[in-house]
């Protein structure tokens, strides 16, 4: 079993912040911390399969949620993951009032600016725990 920190975004398909969460998580695991972090498909976690439960059980996880429903955090906890940090996209977005970030299909430059800010926060947290 991998002991990498698991970074799990909600990837919410209906709103731009779901895509921001997804891109920020992928930026972290692919570019910023590939040796310390990995992602796990949230849809796979939702299935509740024994394989994924085994993978998640007791693992340090950072969840990235695009809306207050906190689906990533709730599902990771239900699967047995230990949520050490709940990253909320809205916490970063509120520092950029009045800006548009693109759509749930495609981010614009401001969208990627927020992605980079969130990814940097996740990277910092990963370096604290791994």
């Amino acid at each position: 079993m991998s002991d990498k920190v698991k970074v799990v975004p909600c990837s919410g398909i209906g709103k731009v912040f779901g895509l921001v969460a997804r891109e920020a998580a992928l930026s972290t695991v692919q570019e910023l911390c590939p040796d310390k972090a990995e992602t796990v498909c949230l849809a796979y976690i939702v299935t509740g399969d024994e394989d994924v439960k085994e993978k998640m059980k007791g693992s340090d996880c950072i969840t990235v949620d695009g809306c207050p429903k906190m689906c990533a955090s709730k599902n990771v906890s239900l699967a047995g993951g230990v949520v050490v940090e709940e990253v909320k996209v809205l916490d970063t977005v509120k520092d950029h009032k009045g800006k548009k970030f693109g759509s749930a299909t495609e981010l614009n430059d401001d969208g990627y600016m927020v992605v980079n800010e969130i990814a940097a926060k996740i990277e910092k947290r990963i370096n604290e725990i791994a």
Partner: protein, 150 residues
């Protein structure tokens, strides 16, 4: 006149390209299809207590779009809403090697060939919507009533 409404549930898997293609193809159908009212449902909300999501899929026809043969969206929808009207396995359309590509997953890394895959999968989703039985719209095959109760 009854509104023709169809739910599309994408896995949006974060581990491989198939999930990205499933997400983008679903978004494309959602944004461009005008014949029927397509609605996308957040899969993670199923488990996180999204009763609206669960009720929608038990009342309206729903199609799952999965990036790989684990078929997480299909299985979760069946688990929480009972049945599904159509299922698309992206790996069968773009090939397993492409679907399980773990290097190119982010939107910003996609190239022309990947957008071609999105087009192809979106076409299959539209085909699946076209193949829905008229009963799926008329209410004859509904498990529950329109109030959303089971």
């Amino acid at each position: 006149m009854a509104v023709l409404k169809v739910g599309i549930l994408s896995c949006s898997g974060e581990e491989c390209l198939g999930g990205t293609i499933s997400r983008l193809a679903t978004r494309k159908v959602l944004e461009e299809m005008t014949m029927v009212d397509t609605v996308t449902l957040c899969l993670p909300l199923y488990n996180a207590g999204g009763t609206e999501e669960r009720n929608f899929a038990s009342v309206f026809p729903t199609i799952s779009v999965d990036g790989c043969d684990k078929l997480c969206a299909k299985r979760s929808t069946e688990k929480y809403s009972g049945r599904i009207n159509g299922s698309i396995d992206v790996s069968k359309i773009i090939g397993n090697e492409n679907a399980l590509n773990t290097r190119i997953v982010r939107n910003r890394d996609l190239k022309e060939e990947h957008f071609q895959m999105v087009e192809e999968v979106a076409g299959e989703i539209v085909k699946s919507i076209s193949n829905l039985s008229p009963d799926a719209y008329s209410g004859k095959s509904f498990r529950g009533c329109n109030c959303g109760s089971e």
